[in-house]
């Protein structure tokens, strides 16, 4: 009999499941943020926003690209009001689908035109620079080439790590094509491939590999190192090396915010972006995430190269949003499978 009752209780749970289906759904008038940035990095900031303004929020944390794909599938029924991400390609895909709406010019004007979309569809919140991360045992920084273009020299054969699939490398290839031309970019990628670079799945794996001495250098964004230094201490065997001013390797990329065309809480969404561009929030990026603040008047972390000295290559970030040509080129030259 015990077994029958077990089965019966299992069957009785089915209506419960049906209740669950409907109970937690339904409309929600909270501001809904899709945050493609690590919860560990930005949650305190988002909670502070809610506390300061009294606007209640719900946040979906995930990978920038996954969240953008989710928005594309959800269509006009997406619950998202704000997309806050760090992937330039995702912005391109959302824009191409007509999913981003124009931001008020007062918000856009808070940052330099270089850090926002020319059609007003997204605004940069914080910045990161492409750098070389090197192993402190294996490499003397004085001997590092100051241009990314020189890392195809035979001396670097088998010593160079890249993260070809995400977070900056495809954007770099686009910048290379724009600045130096298609043919130059193709040849450079072929030379790079011939030099047998090691391709990592993500930045964390790559920086770990540099510190472990699996490769001597890797081409990454600048701020991952600081997380490792906090986590592992000063004897972590990797450091950043900044490219020479104006070098295409030192591309400057941004994490950005935008409001969806289907947003229901537009007003709150604008207040949220305004908050991200406030002095308080910008200071948070300096102090906590080691990124560059983008609003003038807020100083960057003194451990970083000052923004005024960076002089990144002159590239319109919105030109980077369509990465397909670069991906094709990377495939043809063997950098991607």
């Amino acid at each position: 009999m015990r077994r029958t009752s077990l089965l019966a209780s299992a069957l009785a749970l089915m209506p419960l499941a049906a209740v669950l289906l409907t109970a937690c759904g339904g409309g929600d008038d909270r501001l809904t943020i899709y945050a493609g940035r690590s919860k560990n990095l930005v949650q305190p900031l988002l909670e502070q926003f809610s506390e300061d303004t009294g606007i209640s929020i719900r946040v979906l944390y995930g990978d920038s690209t996954d969240l953008a794909l989710g928005i594309l599938e959800e269509g006009q029924n997406s619950p998202a009001d704000v997309y806050y991400g760090q992937d330039v390609g995702a912005l391109g895909a959302l824009k191409a689908a007509g999913r981003l709406s124009e931001l008020p010019s007062a918000l856009l004007a808070k940052v330099d035109p270089a850090f926002r979309s020319p059609d007003g569809l997204w605004v940069g919140i914080s910045g990161r620079q492409r750098v070389i991360v090197y192993n402190t045992d294996a490499v003397d920084p004085a001997e590092l080439p100051s241009s990314i273009l020189d890392y195809t020299a035979p001396a670097w054969e088998g010593r160079f790590g890249i993260v070809p699939r995400s977070d900056g490398f495809p954007e770099f290839v686009t910048a290379l094509r724009l600045l130096k031309g298609e043919e130059f970019a193709r040849r450079w990628l072929e030379d790079l491939d011939a030099n047998d670079p090691t391709a990592y799945a993500n930045n964390i794996a790559a920086i770990q590999a540099v510190a472990n001495g699996e490769v001597d250098v890797a081409f990454l964004n600048h701020y991952y190192l600081f997380r490792f230094l906090e986590e592992r201490g000063e004897d972590f065997k990797a450091r950043n090396y900044y490219f020479a001013a104006g070098d295409v390797g030192g591309l400057f990329l941004v994490a950005s915010a935008s409001i969806l065309d289907s947003a229901r809480q537009r007003e709150d969404a604008e207040r949220f972006i305004e908050y991200l561009l406030s002095a308080e929030a910008q200071q948070y990026f300096t102090d906590e995430t080691h990124e560059y603040p983008l609003v003038p008047g807020i100083a960057a972390d003194p451990g970083l190269q000052p923004l005024s000295q960076i002089d990144p290559p002159q590239i319109d970030l919105s030109d980077l949003t369509d990465l397909r040509g670069s991906l094709d080129l990377m495939r043809q030259t063997g950098i991607l499978p």
Binding site: G25, V59, Y61, G75, N77, G89, R227, E231, R232
Partner: protein, 528 residues
């Protein structure tokens, strides 16, 4: 009496309409992701170009090689482990059973990371061996690393099912074989192994389908099978049509694998008399310690290494503040969603499993095979398919716990299906026929005769679903209610930005909850 039995048999052989309808409903739900995939693929203007591209074909070759190697290795690991822990006098049997089931609950992105941290250049093992003069280990990147990692995380699919089948198999055949003068080995090969064939095949099927759709570990270990190519299309080109096109060969592979599994099944049923008794425990004698060492070695790779790396995170980390906040909520959420998924999957697969085991026919076979669809498709595609269906046709369900459980069920139904079908096949239908001929209705027969005897299989299936759902990532991110943190999302969020210390506690909690789930199943197994 003979006439009554014959009539009862006849009644049984015709599948009741309601059963067919329920099975059709379940199959329709499970087929949503593949239907979506094919539909998206037709949006591509270059289907053939993508499919015939050299890189696609190379990735297909790698997928085949990896899948075949991992499946064979998992069988070779799981069958002796299940036998040792289930039927012999091996010391600490229950301890090993719990430990050996756990690798299934290690999220694959953690598993890949662990392999690299432990066996990679400059990793833990190399540090340990450095005093002995070893300064370079063979590279784990590429095929070898992917093969070892996938084998170690997925052999429990077979282990748990064989383990469950051993606990309910009828020892009389074995006793008869011995009575006829056969030795232990001969009995094992001639009687025990054939009896284990259905659970081995069901488990191997899951391993093979898992291998073709796995992403986290193969990408960490840099072995480009087809699934990473699908992800690449999604996450860098945002070309959902091209991604779907590259997913088509995965469906074709799944059909091929299902066909192969069907061929190994044959027509035999492996059941004994009506009243199963506990089987005799085999004395290992001088094999005792080699067997012990074998269990220890596999457990060391599958559980020891991840725990060592997690503890290393915990001990070596400096930024430990904020580690425990919200951990309790995430643990409750994870357990709740995975437990509901296990229950839902067990209930949903019952009609399909029952139909397939008791009313075998073309339709039953189609329903059963189609139900495996979810296992062969990359998780991100399943997630996007259900996001799309919910947003387009069922907006009230968007971002509900119900939808998340539904998605888990679609993804993990095959795990419950194989185990439950296997359990039903081991059950002698004469008992059911007897109950029917004595006047019991079909429902009563099912509730009083079939269900109780199939329970170990049902629990094994539910355990598989629980262990795999609790670690699931892409589906959880894209379908869970907003703000519904789980242990898997916490771990991912921390490791993706090198907050290793913060990843440690949720990782350990995940393993502890999983161990507890295995223990509960073992208790159940003893009771039944």
């Amino acid at each position: 009496m003979a006439l009554a039995l014959a009539q009862a048999r006849d009644r049984l052989n015709r599948a009741p309409l309601i059963l067919l309808a329920l099975a059709a409903l379940v199959t329709a739900a499970v087929l949503m992701p593949p239907v979506y995939l094919v539909w998206r693929a037709t949006e591509s203007s270059a289907i053939w170009e993508h499919l015939s591209d050299e890189s696609t074909l190379r990735a297909l070759g790698r997928t085949l090689l990896l899948t075949a190697s991992v499946t064979a290795t998992c069988i070779a690991l799981a069958v002796p482990l299940a036998w040792l822990t289930g039927r012999t006098d091996l010391p600490l049997r229950r301890f090993w059973t719990v430990l050996l089931a756990l690798p299934l609950a290690v999220p694959s992105f953690v598993g890949g990371f662990v392999m690299v941290s432990a066996l990679g250049p400059g990793g833990l093992v190399q540090d340990l061996l450095a005093p002995l003069g070893v300064d370079r280990l063979p590279s784990i990147f590429g095929f070898w690393g992917a093969w070892i990692t996938l084998s170690v995380v997925s052999y429990p699919y077979i282990f748990l099912q064989v383990r469950a089948s051993l606990s309910r198999s009828d020892p009389s055949l074995e006793e008869a074989a011995r009575g006829l003068g056969n030795g232990s080995w001969r009995t094992f090969w001639r009687v025990n192994l054939p009896q284990m064939r259905p659970p081995i095949a069901a488990g191997a099927l899951l391993v093979a389908l898992y291998s073709i759709s796995e992403f986290g570990a193969v990408s960490m270990l840099r072995y480009d099978t087809l699934t990473p190519l699908v992800y690449l299309q999604y996450t860098t080109s945002f070309d959902r049509a091209a991604a779907a096109v590259l997913g088509l060969p995965l469906i074709a592979l799944a059909v091929l694998i299902l066909g192969l599994e069907g061929m190994t099944r044959g027509r035999a049923h492996y059941y004994g008399g009506a009243q199963p008794r506990p089987a005799r425990t085999m004395e290992l004698g001088s094999w005792r310690w080699p067997g012990f060492a074998f269990c220890a070695l596999v457990a060391l790779l599958g559980v020891g290494l991840p725990v060592a790396v997690i503890l290393y995170w915990l001990v070596s980390g400096l930024s430990a503040e904020g580690t425990t906040s919200f951990l309790a909520a995430a643990a409750v959420n994870s357990t709740l969603a995975a437990a509901l998924a296990a229950l839902a999957a067990a209930i949903a697969c019952l009609p399909v499993a029952y139909l397939s085991a008791r009313h075998a026919g073309r339709l039953a076979s189609f329903f059963e095979k189609a139900s495996y669809a979810g296992q062969s498709i990359p998780a991100i595609t399943i997630a996007l398919a259900l996001v799309f269906f919910a947003a387009t046709y069922a907006t009230p369900l968007q971002r509900t716990l119900g939808l998340l459980v539904f998605a888990y069920t679609v993804r993990f139904l095959p795990e419950a299906l194989g185990a439950i079908r296997g359990a039903l096949l081991q059950l002698n239908p004469n008992t059911e026929e007897a109950a029917r001929s004595l006047g019991a209705g079909p429902l009563k027969t099912f509730a009083r005769i079939t269900a109780p005897q199939a329970l170990p299989g049902v629990f094994a299936g539910m355990l598989l679903v629980f262990l795999t759902a609790i670690k699931e990532l892409p589906i959880t991110i894209l379908l869970s209610p907003i703000g519904f943190d789980t242990l898997a999302t916490e771990i991912w969020s921390a490791t993706s930005e090198a907050f290793f210390t913060r990843a440690a506690l949720p990782s350990l909690t995940l393993l502890l909850i999983s161990a507890f789930a295995v223990l509960i199943m073992l208790r159940r197994e003893r009771l039944t």
